[in-house]
Every structure is written in structure tokens, then in C-alpha cells.
């Protein structure tokens, strides 16, 4: 029995070492970015990213530039916040509405429609982006063109449908007996019990909207409407202070999501892994 315990102990230490090494490797790129945010942008151009800690060359200059400099970073930041909030709100509302329809009713054509949900789940945006862009370019470059096509979001609908399967039918029956309409039941009885599901999907959709790049790259033309990802990418050409701002701005763009992640980790994981178990 004693040797068994010893063996377990050794295995557990080996595993901790393995996972620590993996964790270090995974955090390393973000850490190099963090260190670089204290170095002059010129160093970055000259040497690339590395872990050198030359204290005499490190300063808070980039942060001063970020917070007080004359640039568009905070406009991009604000645009990203606006776009993210709008996207989350619209997507959650519309997808919950549709997901409820799929979850509680039996109607003609439901299976067919649901197979379409599954098919759309699997089509990458890249496949339809050109004709969709052509179709939408007449709308001008506004946020509606970014949000509207994806409000009824297949994977979010799928998640809400799974979640609502667990809602007892008795709630619906009680509502009907009280004389509530089908929509009244959804708005007054169902939405309040969906809070955990909303939290998980808000975080997942919010993260995707914050980091979204491909579709805004096609749709948005005027620089006043640039989001963070679009704006940061304009800095990769090394003129003036660009690289200083690029590095400190890139690092700072992760911060809001990171704070949300620390606070709501459970919901991040839940939203992320929702599709994987049931397949």
C-alpha cells in the first residue's frame, strides 16, 4: 500500500510539472507582449519580440502615449465597446426568441428548419463572405451591416434550445391557465429563468464581437468607424510612434476581456463547451 501511495505521489508531481510547463508556454507570448509594452517601439522593429529585461531601456512612455497621446486608439476602443454591446444585446434577444420556438413547440417543418440550423452551424463565414459583402455593400459601412446578418446566430440558437429543453412544461401550462399569451409567457416567465444561459452566451458572443476582424475588415471603410482590431492593424506599418502604440494597445485590448474572464470564468467555459458534449 505504501509503494502505491508513493507511486501516486510521483505521478501527481510529474503531472504538475507537465502542466506547469504547458501553462508557461501558453502564457509566454502574452508575457513577451507585456514586457514589450515597456520598451520603445523602435526596439521592437529592430529586434522583434523577446524576453530581454533591459531595465535602462524600459519605461512607462508607451503607457503615457496610450493615455495622453494624439491618436485614435480610444475612438477604436469606444467603437468596439459600442459594437460589442449592440451585438450581444441583439444576438441574445433574437436567438433566445428563436431558440424558444424550437424548444417548446411542435410545428410543421420544425425538423427541416432545425437541420438548416445544423447546416449553417457548419458553414464558415469565409465561404459566403464575398456574395454577402456584395449584397450588403449598398447599406454603407455601418454597424447594422455587421450585426444584422448574424443576429439569429445558429450556435446561440442551438445553445438556448438545449437549455430550454430543461424548462418544465408546467410553467408554460400555468402561464396559459393564467391567460398569458404565448409571447407573454416567453417575455415574463421564460426570460427571467434564462439568466445563466444569457450570461454564458453574452460572454461568448461578446468575446467574439470584441475580437471580430474578418467581417468588419470587409464592411467598414471609414476610419472613424474602425474597431480595435481594424485600428490596431493600421499600426503594423512602422511610421512614427506606430509600433509603440501597436504593442501597448494590443496588450491593453486584452485587458477588458481578461477582467471579465477572471470574474465570470464559469460562464466562459460553459458557453465555450456547450456544443461539444451533446454534439
Amino acid at each position: 500500500m505504501g509503494s502505491r501511495k508513493k507511486k501516486d505521489k510521483a505521478a501527481s508531481i510529474a503531472m504538475i510539472i507537465l502542466f506547469s510547463v504547458l501553462a508557461i508556454l501558453i502564457v509566454l507570448p502574452v508575457f513577451t507582449l507585456f514586457i514589450a509594452s515597456f520598451k520603445p517601439g523602435g526596439d521592437l522593429l529592430q529586434y522583434g519580440l523577446n524576453l530581454d529585461l533591459k531595465l535602462e531601456r524600459m519605461s512607462l512612455d508607451n503607457y503615457v502615449l496610450l493615455f495622453t497621446g494624439n491618436h485614435d486608439y480610444w475612438r477604436w476602443f469606444l467603437n468596439s465597446i459600442v459594437l460589442t454591446v449592440l451585438t450581444v444585446f441583439c444576438t441574445l434577444f433574437v436567438s433566445a426568441f428563436v431558440g424558444y420556438g424550437f424548444a417548446v413547440y411542435d410545428f410543421k417543418g420544425k425538423n427541416f428548419l432545425f437541420i438548416i440550423v445544423l447546416i449553417i452551424l457548419s458553414i464558415p463565414l469565409e465561404v459566403v463572405m464575398l456574395p454577402l459583402y456584395k449584397q450588403i455593400s449598398g447599406w454603407g459601412d455601418n454597424y447594422a451591416a455587421i450585426i444584422l446578418p448574424f443576429m439569429a446566430h445558429a450556435s446561440t440558437i442551438f445553445f438556448f434550445r438545449q437549455y430550454l429543453f430543461g424548462i418544465p412544461q408546467s410553467i408554460l401550462e400555468a402561464g396559459r391557465i393564467d391567460g398569458a399569451t404565448e409571447f407573454g409567457i416567453f417575455f415574463r416567465l421564460i426570460i427571467p429563468v434564462m439568466k445563466p444561459a444569457f450570461a454564458a452566451m453574452a460572454i461568448l458572443n461578446g468575446m467574439n464581437a470584441w475580437n471580430n476582424y474578418l467581417w468588419p475588415l470587409l464592411v467598414i471603410r471609414s476610419s472613424s468607424k474602425y474597431t480595435l482590431t481594424l485600428g490596431l492593424n493600421t499600426l503594423i506599418n512602422p511610421y512614427g510612434d506606430n509600433y509603440s502604440l501597436l504593442i501597448v494597445g494590443s496588450f491593453f485590448s486584452i485587458v477588458p476581456i481578461f477582467i471579465l474572464f477572471v470574474c465570470f470564468q464559469k460562464y466562459f467555459v460553459e458557453g465555450m463547451t456547450a456544443g461539444a458534449v451533446k454534439g
Binding site: M15, S20, V27, G101, I115, T229
Partner: protein
């Protein structure tokens, strides 16, 4: 009267799913059929050209290279991003692992970053200068600096590394969710019967996380075949030396957006759609999703 009609139990379900139906018609069915029609036209000359775009594509060496690159990338991600995360997840799930939460948080961090930040960081870590992190590491072992993003093998390695960095943690989470749905009694019973940990892994874990594996496999195939932005960010745009970083979607972007040859680009899109639908059909067949829906 009208109000009653909309509120009735017969009509209400259709109103609930209506936003989805409209979305499908406007933003999926219309662009897809439009794309198919466009693929038989030459937009610059504004005329129908029959199957000419497709014929041209099949003999277009650069397009074939793009397909080769995308498929090679996809296969690489499958080999690296399924077995290892599964193994790591089952180790993390074992009783010997005391505080898996801390590691799980760390592994999730790359998923929080945008492809713009990830691509920029990796481009600069693998910079050409002797001072870049990658060249410092190989310098430590006595090798001279490499122009990482200028030749095919090293850029393939970096693309895979970016993919592993971003998705290893997420896939571990997927597999953990799958593993945690397996009743622990199964492992206990197997342990009493004298099964080793490895046997438990191969005989219980692997077969029972199959739904998760199929899910991860299919999303990896789709993501691998439609990869574009990672390469776009690493090479600072859509042009890489000798097209070593060109993918199917990269070619679609080049033809459709940069050269404005919409018809030709849509033909590329249709071929990608065909490949994806074929994979989709195989997956739905394997998981029996059609049968499930009919019940």
C-alpha cells in the same frame, strides 16, 4: 381578430422562428445562390462564361497551391489538436490532479486574444533579427538566425504553432466537458477488475468521449480548410513569398477583393462550399443526426 391569429398556439411558433427563417433566406440562401450564379460569370466584362471560371481554376497552379496549403494546414491541426488535448484533458481529469482549475484558466487565455494580436505577437517573436525570441532560442543551441517567415517549412511550423497556441486550451476544455459526463463508477469498476490507467483511457475514455471527438474533429476540419486571418496577420497581408502562406480563402480574398474578379473568386468559394458540405454530410451520417431528428 388579427391579434388573436398571431397569438394563437398554431401561429406563435412560426413567429418565434421567423427571425431565423428571414436570416436564412436573406443572409445565407441569397448570397449562396448569388455566389453560384456569379461563379458562372465574368464580372469585369459583365458576361456569362459558362464553366470557364472552373476550368481555369483547375489548371491554376496558384489555386492548387492554395488548396495544398489549406489541406496541409488542416491535417497538421488535426494531428496536433485532437490527441494531445484529449490526453491532457484526461490527465487533468484524474483524481491525482489536485488543483486543475488554475491550469485550466491559464490555458484559456489565448482564446481571449484576437487573431490580430496573436498574429502580430507571433510575427514579432519569429522576427528575422538575431534578437527575436525564436532566434535567441535557436542561438542558444548554436544555430544562426533564421528568416522564419520566408521559407515554406518554418512558416508551416509557425502557422501550426499559432493554431496550437490558440486552440490547445479550448480543446482541452471541450474534452474535459466530455470526460466529466462519463460516470466515475465505470472507472472504479474497471480499476477493481485490475485495468491499468492506460487501459481505462483507451477502453473507457476514448470510446465514451466520441461525440466530443467528432465535434472537435469537424470544427477543426472547417476551421482548418477556411483558415485565412492567421496567415494574413503573420505575413502582414495577403502576399507571402512564393505564396507559402496562401490558403483557399486567401486566394478568394485576393481574387474577389484585391483584383475585383468577383466571378472567379465566387468559383473558389463554391469549391470550398462543396468540400465543406461533403464533410458535413459525412459527419451527419456518422453521428446519425438525420435519424435523431426524425424520431
Amino acid at each position: 381578430m388579427l391579434k388573436r391569429f398571431f397569438y394563437s398556439k398554431k401561429i406563435a411558433p412560426y413567429i418565434f422562428v421567423l427571425p431565423f427563417i428571414i436570416t436564412v433566406l436573406l443572409f445565407w440562401a441569397a448570397p449562396i445562390s448569388n455566389g453560384i450564379l456569379l461563379s458562372f460569370q465574368d464580372i469585369l466584362k459583365d458576361q456569362w462564361v459558362g464553366t470557364q471560371n472552373y476550368e481555369r481554376l483547375l489548371s491554376d497552379k496558384i489555386f492548387l497551391k492554395a488548396i495544398f496549403n489549406s489541406v496541409k494546414y488542416m491535417l497538421g491541426t488535426l494531428i496536433l489538436l485532437i490527441p494531445f488535448p484529449l490526453l491532457f484533458a484526461s490527465l487533468l481529469n484524474s483524481k491525482l490532479m489536485k488543483k486543475p482549475g488554475l491550469f485550466k484558466s491559464a490555458y484559456f487565455i489565448p482564446a481571449l486574444t484576437s487573431v490580430v494580436v496573436a498574429g502580430t505577437v507571433f510575427r514579432l517573436m519569429f522576427g528575422e533579427a538575431a534578437g527575436s525570441l525564436a532566434n535567441q532560442v535557436i542561438g542558444f543551441f548554436g544555430f544562426s538566425p533564421i528568416k522564419w517567415l520566408k521559407n515554406a517549412e518554418t512558416s508551416y511550423f509557425i502557422l501550426l504553432l499559432v493554431a496550437c497556441w490558440r486552440w490547445t486550451g479550448v480543446n482541452i476544455l471541450y474534452f474535459l466537458a466530455g470526460l466529466q459526463s462519463i460516470p466515475s463508477e465505470l472507472y472504479e469498476a474497471a480499476a477493481i477488475d485490475g485495468a491499468s490507467k492506460w487501459q481505462q483511457f483507451t477502453k473507457i475514455s476514448i470510446p465514451l468521449v466520441k461525440p466530443t471527438s467528432v465535434y472537435v474533429l469537424t470544427i477543426s476540419i472547417y476551421a482548418g480548410l477556411s483558415m485565412f486571418l492567421e496567415s494574413y496577420m503573420l505575413f502582414k497581408g495577403n502576399n507571402s513569398p512564393n505564396n507559402i502562406g496562401l490558403t483557399i480563402v486567401g486566394y478568394l480574398y485576393r481574387q474577389g477583393i484585391e483584383k475585383r474578379a468577383m466571378g472567379y473568386a465566387c468559383a473558389v468559394g463554391c469549391i470550398l462550399l462543396l468540400i465543406i458540405m461533403a464533410v458535413n454530410l459525412i459527419q451527419l451520417k456518422l453521428t446519425g443526426a438525420f435519424g435523431k431528428e426524425e424520431k
